[in-house]
Every structure is written in structure tokens, then in C-alpha cells.
């Protein structure tokens, strides 16, 4: 969540007056880094993962599970234990070895939610293949250490959201009443946020800038007995504590939507983020662009968020809820009122899918760029004058259309070019699905790219699998010089598509047909030197991509055809005319469907081809194969996403009445199941054995449906 400097945070009316100064100083700081770091070369491939946890209270005999708000105490306990005693926290690897001796202790960080915790490895990972195998045990170690510094009835769990956050009654420990001065939420107390002044100020100033509370409305899942039209029964229309209590009376809570009204409903979600260090600026920009179209695919594939505020939602992922939870746009910026005081209409929230491609790659066609991109022209000019190229200047001039939300008065005394605080103020409150990170002020590390769309998974096995998969994908992109470009508007559309229930199986996504260079650079046979890249292709952009299922994108066309028993409905697709066929295959059985006769290789076969070309030892390759297997099966539907498993768990629960309500009992048992799976994992007991359905050795029943989530792994 960025720097946690202490100071006097300005209220919005004051902060607003200083916004211009902060931006202008931020740009000066950016140019300072730019000039210092643009020539940095040959930085090693280093990467890091961030795992976020909810802290819940749970015990076998307690009929209730609650969010624990002891974040500060837990962090203090972790901080005081400098050695982070690993006693009892070093479960062996599956092969019996134990490899977490070389790593310094993990690092724990506060998060927005006071019920959250974030943990990162003690030092970044390299690309040695054996090192990739340390990720999973390190994640388990982090979880174990976190648990060891909690009360016996507290657990760090990796559900994206707490199912009953904001439900009527008690859902936190300790309990606080709702409707506080900062959030003014009728569902969650101010104490839900980290008390550090930065966080309540962030929430309050977003609300204040916006002129009303945030509106996080998510469509409710319509089950057999869900009343329809559905009115969120937890909304209180008779509250009169704050002016914002009028919001719901003015239509903030539409029918058939679960209504939420505070930043905590979004920023209280846990995700899995991966940051890579590039070898230089050029590679960083390439990675940023090439990973961007993968964002929605990985979002759909990691879907884990089907419940909000005690109701089943009709979406599977967290993304749009966070987007709405930090949407600080004014009615003018939203286009609801004519522009009078504000400078422009802004199509997206600060938290949204990317709006820019930033590479100077000749394969980047102007048609891919967002035609509606809003930028601050004067900032762009400043950056150009400072020596930055057009494309990157455009990117930052886009990020800098936003106001800084939290400003500390102490920082406004003088501009300090040896820091990046003002730049980071804007940069790190632009929460796009990729983030391009310049080196820090001391230039000690390289240009980095953060991959942000993935949802946290219930087990560290899964989290490690997705983290390692993305790392391998980056190596594949760079080695094979792959081209994933599609128009950025299509990435936006894909992001929306990824929200659908079971999008991973039922929806199709725009994806580039041909990832390879169109013509092979000539290596011999010609006496005239040829350009190292083929000339920019000029066919219609629409011919370059088509709709594909996640299965096809991940596993390739052949595998997808062989494994999809029921062809996914194409409900999400094609009002547009079908793309022209590029090249007829010589196959005698050309299919009717024009889109189907093209072989897409699939990301996993590409990763395998990469692994075939490097020296990997047997044990490592087999571990990596397990990770790829998990992802393959999630993409094909052989295994369920966490979202689907949670829906199944709710549906099978005796207290569920087919009315979309996820009550306290169901929530309690769901959390119990997740805790149980976590214990199985941390003890190295495997998911099949004690966790598998009906196989409890201590007489307990297994966890419902766990074999559909985790299969025969471990």
C-alpha cells in the first residue's frame, strides 16, 4: 500500500488546493529518476510475490467466525520477534527435503483493511529453476509464522473477501458500531480500516472528492427462491447521521444489486501480485505491454470471489468491486453533469484495467491504443521537454490526470529531488492491472513491472503455481519474442467478461491469433542485411485477434477441442462480423465455423517448449509440471475455481435456502473448511488424505468438494 510516513494529513478541501503542487513536484521527481535510470542495463531477473491474508477468529466450538481487527498487535508481535522463529514452521517439501534455510525471514506489511495482512519473501526470487521451487514452502512458512504470532483462535486465511463483511450484526472482533465520521458507511464501522492516518484519510477524501459515498453495487445471483426483483434487505433507508445517508434515498442501491458503500468492500480484498525486475527500460516496457492482455485471462482463471455482504453475487471476481470502492470521480468527471469545475470527463476509475501501451516496439500499432485516452497535455509537454519519449510521457501524463488523495502538510515545505514521494503519491494510487515502476530514488534497483489482476487462492500450492506460471510466461515472452498485442479496448472488454459467473468455462475472450513474428528474419541466403524485425504489418487489426476460451488460450486449440465436452455458449460474443479467415489449412475437413480452423498453440505448451530448451533437473521439472497441471485443469474445467467451489459449498450447506443468502452458519463452516485445508497443507498432510471427502482419519468428515478444487495434487 505504499509508504506509511507519519504526518498531518490534509482534509480534502485543503488537499485539493495542493493537488497541482504535488503533481508538479511529482513530475520533477519522475524526470529526476528518468534521467538517472533510463540507461540502466543488465539488471538481473528478480521477482517477488505478495500474498494477502484475511485474519479471522475461528474455533471448533464457536458457532461464529469473525474478522479479527488485531492487525496492529499481530504486526507488533511479528516485528518484535526479529528472528521470526521458525520453530515448527518449516514443513518439509513434498520430496522430503527442506530448503528454506537460505532465505531471510519473510516480511509482513499492514494493508488497508484492519483485518488484513500482507507477506512478502525476505528477499526477491531469482530465475534459477530450483529457486522457483522455494516459493511454495516459503509461502507456507509465511503463513505459519503469521499464525504463530496470532491468538490461538486467529487464522490467516486466503479467501479474497470475508463473506459477511458488512452484514447486519456482528462480524468483527471486537465489535464497533457502523456509521463513523470517516467512512460514513451504514454497513461497516470506521474501525474496519487500518487506523494509520493514511487509510482513513484515503477513504474520507475519496468520498469527499466524489461528493458522496462510493457505490459498490454487484449483481445478486438469482437462485430458485431468490425474491425477484430483489431488494437488498440490509439497506437502511432511514439513517440520518450524515449527509451521505441520503445516497440510498437518491437511488444508490438499485434493485437486484447487493449494495455496498465503503472503500473497505473493495480494498478489503486479497490478491496475489507479482513484480518483475526487467533487464532495462526497454524490456520493462515490453513486459508491461505483453503481460497486459493476459490480465483478464488470469483474472478469470483465478476467480475466487462469489459472495458479498452475506449474499451470493452473480460475478466471480473482485475486480470491479475494488474499482468502484475507490472511484473518486466527481459527477462532472463521470459525465453525469456538464463540465464546469473539473477539467475532463474520465472514463475509468483510478482502479481499472490499463489504458496505455508503453513500449516503442514496432509491432505496437497505433490502432491498439486507447482512442479515448485522457491525458494532461501540459504534463506531457513537461516530460517531453525533460527528455522523455512520447509514448512514456503519454503514459505518465495519463496517470497524472488524477488528484493526489492523501497529502501530508510536512511534505509540502520544499521539493526534495532525492525522494520520489510526490511521484509515488499519484503513481501508487493509480491501481491499474499492470503497474510500470521506475527505479527508486537511489536507483538501487531496476525498472519493474507489476502484474496485479490475480485473485488470491485458498492454498499456497495454488498461489505458488500461479506465481511461477506468470514468471515462466515472462521468460517465454522474452525468449520467443511473442506478441500478445490486441487493441487495449479489447482488453477492457475482456476484463468485463472475466467477471461473469464461471467465465473461465463459459465465456470467450479476445486474444491474438498469431503470437509469432509474421515473417522470419532472414538468417542466411541473402547477401543484403535484413532488418532484425519484419516491417510492421498492415492488415486490418480486426483480423489479428479472435474470440477464444480460456481453455484454448491456456492449453491450445487441440487440447481445448479434445477436452471441452460441452461447447461453451458464445453468448458473450459477436455482434461484430466474423473476422476474415487468414489462411485456409489444407485439411480436408475444414469446419463450418470460420474461427475454429486455426491452431492456437496455448500458453502451457509454450511454457513446455521453453522448458524443453533449457537445462532443468528432473525433480524441478516434475514440480513445475505439477503447477502447470493445476493450471491446465483449471482452464479445462477438470478442476474448479475457488469461486465455483465456494458456490458449491454454499449450495450443499444444509442452512442454505436457495435464496442467495449466505448466513452466519454457512460462513462459519466455509471458513472452517478453509482453515482445515490450510492446516492440511501446512502440516504437509496433503489435500486428498485428511481433507478429502469422507476420509477423515480422526472421524471428521472431509471437506465438501475439495477434490474438485484441488484434485489429486499433494
Amino acid at each position: 500500500m505504499g509508504l506509511l510516513a507519519l504526518g498531518t494529513a490534509l482534509d480534502w478541501p485543503e488537499a485539493k488546493k495542493q493537488a497541482h503542487l504535488v503533481r508538479s513536484w511529482g513530475i520533477k521527481q519522475l524526470l529526476e529518476i528518468w534521467n538517472k535510470a533510463k540507461g540502466k542495463e543488465r539488471d538481473a531477473m528478480l521477482w517477488g510475490d505478495e500474498v494477502e491474508y484475511l485474519v479471522v477468529t475461528y474455533s471448533k466450538d464457536d458457532p461464529k467466525v469473525l474478522l479479527s481487527l488485531r492487525q496492529a498487535d499481530i504486526l507488533k508481535a511479528l516485528e518484535n520477534d526479529t528472528a521470526l522463529s521458525k520453530a515448527g514452521c518449516a514443513p518439509p517439501l513434498p520430496d522430503g527435503s527442506n530448503s528454506h534455510t537460505s532465505q531471510p525471514p519473510p516480511v509482513f506489511h499492514p494493508e488497508f483493511g484492519r483485518f488484513m495482512l500482507e507477506a512478502t519473501p525476505g528477499k526477491p526470487w531469482g530465475i534459477e529453476f530450483k529457486e522457483l521451487l522455494e516459493v511454495e514452502p516459503n509461502m507456507r512458512l509465511r503463513r505459519c509464522i503469521a499464525k504463530a504470532h496470532m491468538l490461538s483462535n486467529e487464522y490467516p486465511i486466503t479467501l479474497t473477501t470475508f463473506p459477511r463483511l458488512g452484514s447486519p450484526g456482528v462480524f468483527t472482533d471486537p465489535y464497533y458500531p457502523v456509521s463513523g465520521p470517516k467512512l460514513r458507511s451504514q454497513f461497516v464501522p470506521d474501525e474496519i480500516a487500518n487506523p494509520h492516518i493514511r487509510f482513513p484519510t484515503l477513504a474520507a477524501n475519496i468520498r469527499s472528492r466524489r461528493g458522496r459515498k462510493v457505490q459498490v453495487n454487484v449483481p445478486v445471483f438469482k437462485d430458485e427462491k431468490t425474491p425477484w426483483p430483489w431488494k437488498d434487505p440490509t439497506v437502511n433507508y432511514d439513517l440520518h447521521n450524515w449527509p451521505e445517508d441520503d445516497d440510498v434515498r437518491n437511488g444508490a442501491a438499485p434493485e437486484n444489486f447487493i449494495h455496498m458503500d465503503a472503500m473497505a468492500f473493495g480494498m478489503g480484498s486479497c490478491c496475489l501480485q507479482i513484480t518483475f525486475q526487467a533487464k532495462n527500460l526497454t524490456e520493462g516496457r515490453q513486459m508491461y505491454d505483453q503481460l497486459s492482455p493476459l490480465g483478464p485471462i488470469l483474472l478469470a482463471l483465478t476467480a475466487a470471489t462469489p459472495v458479498y455482504k452475506g449474499f451470493l453475487a452473480d460475478t466471480d471476481v473482485r475486480w470491479n468491486q475494488i474499482s468502484k470502492a475507490v472511484d473518486d470521480r466527481t459527477p462532472e468527471e463521470l459525465g453525469e453533469k456538464p463540465l464546469v469545475n473539473d477539467r475532463w470527463r474520465i472514463p475509468k476509475s483510478r482502479y481499472a484495467s490499463n489504458s496505455t501501451y508503453i513500449s516503442e516496439d514496432p509491432r505496437l500499432r497505433p490502432e491498439y491504443l486507447d482512442p479515448d485516452l485522457v491525458i494532461d497535455e501540459s504534463i506531457k509537454q513537461q516530460l517531453l521537454d525533460g527528455g522523455m519519449d512520447d509514448r512514456l510521457a503519454t503514459h505518465f501524463a495519463h496517470l497524472f490526470i488524477r488528484d493526489p488523495i492523501v497529502i501530508f502538510s510536512e511534505d509540502l515545505k520544499e521539493l526534495d529531488l532525492s525522494k520520489t514521494d510526490h511521484f509515488e503519491n499519484i503513481q501508487s494510487t493509480n491501481w491499474q492491472h499492470m503497474r510500470f515502476k521506475p527505479p527508486p530514488a537511489d536507483n538501487s534497483i531496476g525498472w519493474r513491472v507489476e502484474f496485479r489482476p490475480m485473485e488470491i487462492q485458498i492454498t499456497d500450492f495454488e498461489n505458488a503455481a500461479f506465481a511461477v506460471f506468470i514468471v515462466l510466461i515472462t521468460r517465454v515472452i522474452l525468449s520467443f519474442d511473442l506478441n500478445f498485442y490486441i487493441p487495449i479496448k479489447k482488453v477492457d472488454e475482456n476484463m468485463e467478461t472475466a467477471h461473469a459467473r464461471d467465465a473461465v468455462l463459459t465465456r470467450k475472450f479476445y486474444f491474438r491469433r498469431n503470437l509469432f513474428p509474421t515473417a522470419r528474419p532472414s538468417r542466411s541466403g541473402s547477401s543484403t542485411p535484413v532488418a532484425s524485425r519484419p516491417p510492421t504489418p498492415t492488415g486490418p487489426v480486426e483480423d489479428e485477434y479472435r474470440l477464444m476460451s480460456v481453455n484454448e488460450i491456456i492449453n491450445g486449440t487441440a487440447y481445448a477441442k479434445a477436452t471441452s465436452s460441452s461447447p461453451p455458449s458464445s453468448s458473450s460474443s459477436s455482434s461484430s462480423s466474423p473476422p476474415l479467415k487468414r489462411r485456409k489449412t489444407s485439411s480436408s475437413e475444414v469446419e463450418d465455423n470460420e474461427e475454429e480452423d486455426e491452431e492456437f498453440p496455448g500458453l502451457i505448451p509454450l511454457v513446455e517448449s521453453y522448458l524443453d530448451s533449457v537445462n532443468v533437473d528432473v525433480a524441478t521439472r516434475c514440480q513445475l509440471a505439477t503447477y502447470l497441471d493445476l493450471i491446465r485443469k483449471r482452464a479445462s474445467g477438470e478442476l474448479w475455481t475457488a469461486a465455483r467451489w465456494i458456490r458449491h459449498f454454499v449450495a450443499r450447506h444444509p442452512e442454505y435456502k436457495r435464496d442467495s443468502v449466505v448466513g452466519e452458519g454457512i460462513t462459519r463452516d466455509l471458513v472452517a473448511a478453509v482453515v482445515r485445508i490450510g492446516e492440511c497443507e501446512v502440516n504437509g498432510r496433503g489435500f486428498r488424505g485428511v481433507c478429502g471427502a469422507g476420509e477423515g482419519e480422526d472421524g471428521e468428515e472431509g471437506v465438501e468438494g475439495v477434490e474438485r478444487l484441488l484434485g489429486g495434487f499433494r
Binding site: R42, A44, M45, G126, I127, F129, K279, R475, L478, S479, F480, D481, F516, P517, R520, P521, S522, R523, S524, G525, S526, S527, T528, P529, V530, S532, G556, A558, Y559, A562, P601, P605, L606, E608, S609, Y610, L611, D612, S613, V614, N615, V616, D617, V618, R621, C622, A625
Partner: protein, 330 residues
């Protein structure tokens, strides 16, 4: 007797030929596809050049037969670019398919300093080639790799002998079958030539492929420069036969995974690649009509695969193959 050197160039960004196809596990498709596409690219370049020359000069002045070639035809043997336009010969008469311009800096060599790379070469001795000549083949193959990458040595040279595999239901069976495969005598007899490359500083470490526990134990007892790597093929099963795992551990031999097939360039495949057929390069004469091209019995001798990986970034910068063959005059 004509010596042929086939090459793929750098295939790593060369498109689909590097992609493993489902069900094509342990195949030589990467080699054959990338040879084919490199031939095609060379022919296209040559055609474009001939075309350009023809357009500016009215008639070809360098090549006597160029006017007889219909450059615009896309298919059919009449549309072929003459072999001489895209292949080349060295001073000893070896035929390079396609021609290699060693003096073109941008086609050869690596982008960064040598120390940044982990370079592996895997040499395949092929079944039809005489064992007595392996020393020469090894030298020739490695020299081509060094010249292509413009480096003084490779980090690891892995040797693959014909007739060996590591197949069967994991665990014990593959290991047991392996024990009687290959030819111990030939393999031991070949090794000194490989050791010599190591002593000359051309290969820092040596490795083997497809050696099960028994063969490996026998081999180690005879080898002076010990292999530090044994590449084995694992299908879907991840269990290394325990005797092999144990031996490797005791002898500090790293067990690496590969998915190459051992008989990587069978005679028929090579003939098809170079032959007059629709998927061939048109270098060999049509056996029925005897029209155009080289005649005689073609024998593949060796294949070498090379890979240069940027060490601390895990990026494959260069990967390709050379293959050596011999054409007995018919």
C-alpha cells in the same frame, strides 16, 4: 563424396516450429520444421534478390540459368530457386544448406559478454554413420556451434549415442531395458574424442544422454573425464528409477530432463527434406527422372543442437541446429 552442412539459424524467435505439438512428445519435429523453414526463407530471399537483379539488369548476369526460372510461380518444380542461389560451398567443397554468411555480424554471435550465458550443445551421433569417424564429427559439429555463437567454448557438451532410450513404465523397467541398449564398446571408444574437446577447452563440462544405472556405472569405470550431467527423458512420470537416482547422487551427476528423440535425423527424413518433393528443398535429383540436382546415396552423420541462455534472466537468446551428412557419388 560431398559433405553437406545443414543449418537452422536461430530458431528461438522463429515462430511455430519451436512449439511442441500435442502428442508430438519426443519428436524431431523441431529439427525438421526449422530446417524446412530456414531453407524456405533462404530460397525466398534468393528469389527476391534474383528478381531485383532481373528487374534492374534486364537479365541475370551472375547466374547463367536464372532466366530459365519462373520466379513468380508459387508452386511446382519449375518455380524453384536454383540451388546455387541459396546454398554455398566452402573452400573444401562442403555444401552449406542454406549458405551461411559468416561475415554477417548481425546473424551470428551473442548480444552480451560470454560470461552472461549458459551455453549447451548436444551432439547426436547417428546410427548409420561409422563409429570410427566420430572424433571428426564431434570436432566438426562443435566448431560450427562455436563459430555460430562466436564463443571460444560451450559450458556443457552432451553426447547422445544411437540406439538408446529411456522408456517403459517408469521406475525399474526403463532402467532395466536401458542396460542392454546402445553399444558399450562404441560408446567407450568414442569418449576419448569428447574428452579431448574438454581438454582443449572447447567444452567446460561433459554430459551423457539416456544412460540408465547399469550403463552409467559401466561407463564411469572407463571414463577419464567424467560426465557431470545425464539427460534423461521423462514422459508423464516423475519417478527416476531409484538405482539411477542413487548412482547419480553418489557420483554427483546431475539428472536433467530432455524431450529429444535419439534417432533425430533418419535417412529417409533427410532425403525428404532435401529431395525434389513438394516439401523438399529440391537439392537432390528426382530419382525417377534424374532431373536436376545432386545424385547419390545420402547418409546423415551427426546433428548438434545448441542453446544459449542468459544466465540470470532465464531468457533463451539463441537456439538452433546443425546437421552433417555425406552424399556418396552415385
Amino acid at each position: 563424396m560431398t559433405k553437406l552442412i545443414l543449418s537452422t539459424g536461430n530458431i528461438v524467435s522463429g515462430g511455430p516450429s519451436i512449439i511442441r505439438k500435442p502428442g508430438a512428445f519426443r519428436s524431431n519435429l523441431e529439427l525438421t520444421n526449422s530446417l524446412r523453414s530456414n531453407f524456405l526463407a533462404a530460397q525466398e530471399d534468393a528469389a527476391a534478390e534474383l528478381h531485383a537483379n532481373g528487374a534492374t539488369n534486364g537479365n541475370g548476369n551472375s547466374s547463367g540459368n536464372s532466366e530459365s526460372v519462373d520466379l513468380d510461380a508459387e508452386t511446382g518444380t519449375t518455380g524453384r530457386v536454383p540451388t546455387a542461389a541459396w546454398t554455398g560451398r566452402d573452400q573444401n567443397g562442403a555444401l552449406y544448406v542454406p549458405r551461411i554468411h559468416w561475415d554477417h555480424d548481425h546473424h551470428h554471435g551473442l548480444q552480451e559478454e560470454r560470461a552472461q550465458y549458459d551455453i549447451t550443445a548436444k551432439l547426436f551421433f547417428l546410427p548409420g554413420a561409422p563409429v570410427s569417424e566420430r572424433s571428426r564429427y564431434a570436432r566438426e559439429a562443435l566448431e560450427h556451434v562455436l563459430q555460430e555463437l562466436r564463443v571460444p567454448e560451450v559450458d556443457l557438451l552432451i553426447v547422445s549415442f544411437p540406439g538408446m532410450s529411456f522408456e517403459g513404465d517408469c521406475e525399474w523397467e526403463a532402467d532395466r531395458r536401458n542396460a542392454v541398449q546402445g553399444n558399450d564398446e562404441d560408446e567407450i571408444a568414442t569418449w576419448p574424442a569428447i574428452e579431448e574437446l574438454h581438454r582443449l577447452g572447447l567444452a567446460k563440462r561433459l554430459g551423457l544422454a539416456e544412460f540408465g544405472s547399469e550403463k552409467l556405472a559401466r561407463f564411469l569405470s572407463k571414463a577419464q573425464v567424467r560426465p557431470t550431467v545425464n539427460q534423461i527423458n521423462l514422459k508423464n512420470c516423475c519417478n527416476v528409477p531409484p538405482p539411477l537416482a542413487q548412482l547419480a547422487k553418489e557420483q554427483s551427476i546431475e539428472l536433467l530432463v530432455h524431450s529429444d528423440c535419439t534417432d533425430i535425423l533418419p535417412k529417409g527424413t533427410l532425403r525428404e527434406l532435401l529431395g525434389p518433393g513438394p516439401r523438399g528443398a529440391g537439392i537432390l535429383a528426382d530419382p525417377e527422372t534424374g532431373a536436376g540436382g545432386l545424385q547419390g546415396d545420402l547418409t546423415p552423420l551427426w546433428v548438434v543442437k545448441y542453446t544459449a541462455v542468459v544466465r540470470d534472466r532465464g531468457v533463451i537468446e539463441n537456439k538452433g541446429y546443425f546437421a552433417g551428412a555425406e552424399l556418396a557419388d552415385g
